[in-house]
Each structure stands twice: as C-alpha cells, then as structure tokens.
Amino acid sequence: MKIFFNIGRYFLLLNKVFSKPEKAVIYRNRFFQEVNMLGIGSLGIVSIISVFIGAVITIQAAFGFQSPWIPLYAVGLATRDSIVLEFSPAIVSLILAGKVGSNIAGEIGTMRVTEQIDAMEIMGVNSAAYLILPKILGFMFILPFLTVISMFLAMIGGLVFGVFTNAVTAHQYMVGIQYDFRPYNVFYALVKVVVFAFIITSISAYHGYYTKGGALEVGRSSTKAVVYSSITLLFFDLLLTQLLLA
C-alpha cells in the first residue's frame, strides 16, 4: 500500500511544482543557476567516463570481431551504435542519477530538516515550485547537450585508444562510425535523455522534499533517490526503446 501512497504523493507534488510561479524572472535566474550546477558541474565526470568507456567498447569490439569474415570497420560501427543507442543516453544518465540525484535529495532534504522549506512556506512562497521546477527544467534542457558531448568524446576515446592499441586503423574506424548512419538514432537517444532528466530530478526532489528527521534521514533520502530514480530510469529505457525502435 505504501507504494500507492508514494505514487499519489509524488503526483500531488508535481501538481504543486508545475503551478504558476510567483515571479517569472526569479525562476529564470534559478533555471540558469541549475543548468550551471547540475549540467556544467557534471561535464567533467561525463567527459572522463565517456572517453574511457568509448575506448573500452572499441577494444572489446575489436577483440570480438577477430574473424576474416568481419570487416575491420565493423569495430567503428559497433562502437558508434553502442554509444549512440545505449551508453551515452542510458549509462551516462544512470551515472548522473547517482551524482545529480543524491545532490538534489541531499540539498532539499537538508533544507527540509533545518526548517528552511517551512520558512519559505510561511513567507507565502510555493516552496515545491521554487526549489524543484528550475531543477527539472534545467536538467531537461542541459542533459541532451551533455549526451551529445558524451557521444562525441566516447567516439574520440574509441579512435585514440583503438589506434594506440592497434585494435583498428584510424581510416577503418572513421569508415565504421559513418557507415549506415541513421540520424533517427540520435533523435531516439535525445528523447530518452529528456525523459530520464525528468525522472532523475523529480524522483530525487520528491525524496528530498518529504524527508523527516535529521542528518541520518537526509542520507537515507539520498540513497532512496538514487535507487528509485535508477530503477525507474531503466524501466523507461526499456519502454521507450520498445516504443521508438521496435
């Protein structure tokens, strides 16, 4: 029964979040702050992970395709499709669910237990909208850009390490990543990340907003935020893949 209570309360919170803002200009400023904090602040980890995973996918593909019947450019092709279809949209989002999700739940949860949210409510501020809406919109805006950067860096990582380890030649790799390229796959990936961004921010904010107790509960809320947003993200990954690719 608790799950239905939580789902109901989650949608009631969303209703509060998407109600009319007090002053649009304040929300605009908060939106850009969140884009900077959640998005630009994640650029470092996304870049590092993308380069290394791109390299690993390339080396693994080269290892698996050691057959005279498979052309060498298939390494680039497999790397590209793995990165565009799953790694950059889903795996990077899962990693960000850990970083951004725990950050959001921790921040809002701390505000709750130190009565900062109550202070906002007393002032007549819609605390849910003020705190959560800019995070949701900001992350939905910036995550597609992070995903495209991740795709680019992962392919560069694959190229550099693939050539460096003699797994593939630069020419074959470049042929592979351009072979039978379908722009729709990038569209599919970007649709997914917009949904993932919404899931990560809204579920994490929900767990933070309804934190009760003290520091221990803030930690628990952060953990719950990461776990539930990751599971929901995987479920929607499957659902959207079925809907958009099948």
Partner: protein
C-alpha cells in the same frame, strides 16, 4: 489580533492539543509556555498551517485561516514573519540575500530599495557589516538576529517565534527577548513566542498561556505567574531547589 478556538490535534493515539483556546493580543508579546513535549511547537505550526488541525478555528483579524483556500492562505502568510528555533536561514544565500528574498518575490521595489530595506532591518537588529557573510560564517545569536531582520522585512502584522532563545547564552537571550519586545510595541504587531525559558517569561511575559499536556491550564502575566496557586505551573516555574527556596522566601519573608 489572533484568536484560536477549541483546537484539537492528534498524532496516532496521542492527543497533542486538546480544546485549546486563547486570544493573542495585538501590540503585546503573547507567550506560550510549557514543558518540552506538551505541544507548544505543534500549536504554533498548526496556527500557521504547517500542520493541519483536526478541529478548531484560527482567526486572523476575524478571518478563519483553516477555511481559507490556498491563495487566501498565501496572502495571510505574507503578513506573517516567523523566527524558527534554528533560525532557518537559507544556507546558499548571504545574509543580505536572505532578507531581500521575500522582497524580491513579493514586491516591485528596485534593487537599491531592497538593499536599503535589508540594511535598515539589519540596523534595527543591531547588526552591521554582515551583509555579504553566509549563515555558516556568523554566530548563533547573529543568526537569530538575521532571522528576525528577515521576519520583519515585509512589515508583518503577526510575528511568530519558536523558542527564540534556544542554544543562546543568557546575555544574548536577553538581547533577543528585548528585541522581540521592542519590535512588538514599535510595530504594533501581534507576537506569539513559544518558550520554556523562565528568563524570557519574566522579561517579556505580558500575556502568557501555560500549556500542560496539550491543554491550556493557566493564563495571566509575568507578575501573576510568581504568585499562582496552579500546581502544574508552580512545578514548572519553580523547578529547581534554588527557585523553590526563593518562592518560600517570597511567600514567607
């Protein structure tokens, strides 16, 4: 003026508020006193709508807060200033930004006017040159004063203080009490103070209600509290041996 009538609140099986009625007078500090766990903070949170009551009426200048819709409640809340136990200053904002925050959301004042207002509020609570410090960089007493400055920034009609002296040394406590008292008379606001600090009671207790197990069991002022016959209140006021001896001397000089 705030009038509360027949308030009831239950958490699970525990009746926290039982038929509590009281009139909080305008232009006076109204104190709610009582032991820890008697429902003082719950009462305050119920009055401002942070906790929903089971039954009763909370009348702000005659208008029933509990029967108001979301928009009407928001309007009333803009007339409320609140000082929380821990200050509840926004960690990510500087002192000045904390005070300017409600002004930014609810007024059309220019940036200069807002800073000017913040400065005048800070000056009123005897704080200067702290505008650009963060809450983590100032002391507990200063945090309370900044919280008071933020609470009065919107020129409220009602001021709520939840244990304003908790965690403060006696000297700073008296400063905070005096500040709350002065602001109440100066701005002619209805002030509600939740406390269990007897120094506060004797300093600013012009109108007091004693809460015992969720019920109001005494009402009076700071002169009357020293000579009451109410057993529960006597146990609360004269809790230490020193004070009991003091009372004996007071009664039998």
């Amino acid at each position: 003026m705030i009038e509360v009538r027949n308030l009831y609140k239950k958490f699970g099986d525990k009746q926290v508020l039982k038929d509590f009625s009281f009139t909080f007078q305008q232009g006076k500090p109204n104190l709610i006193i009582g032991e820890s766990g008697t429902g003082k903070s719950v009462l305050l949170k119920c009055m401002v709508g942070l906790i929903e009551l089971d039954a009763g009426e909370v009348l702000y200048s005659g208008a029933d807060f509990l029967r108001m819709n979301f928009k009407e409640r928001k309007l009333i809340r803009r007339e409320i200033g609140m000082l929380f136990q821990g200050g509840a200053l926004f960690d990510s904002m500087t002192v000045e930004e904390n005070i300017v925050f409600p002004l930014e959301l609810f007024t059309d004042a220019s940036a200069e006017e807002k800073v000017e207002r913040a400065n005048s509020c800070l000056k009123r609570v005897n704080l200067e040159n702290v505008n650009h410090l963060f809450p983590s960089e100032i002391s507990g007493g200063m945090k309370k004063r900044v919280a008071i400055a933020r609470a009065i920034a919107m020129e409220p009609k009602y001021l709520f203080c939840d244990e304003p002296n908790s965690g403060l040394d006696p000297k700073t406590s008296i400063l905070i009490d005096e500040l709350i008292n002065d602001l109440t008379y100066e701005l002619n606001i209805t002030t509600v103070v939740i406390t269990h600090d007897m120094n506060s009671v004797l300093e600013i207790g012009d109108h007091i209600a004693f809460l015992y197990k969720g019920e109001k069991c005494w009402e009076g002022n700071k002169q009357e509290i020293l000579h009451t016959d109410n057993k529960q209140l006597n146990d609360f006021v004269y809790a230490t041996k020193f004070l009991k001896n003091f009372k004996d001397k007071l009664v039998k000089p």
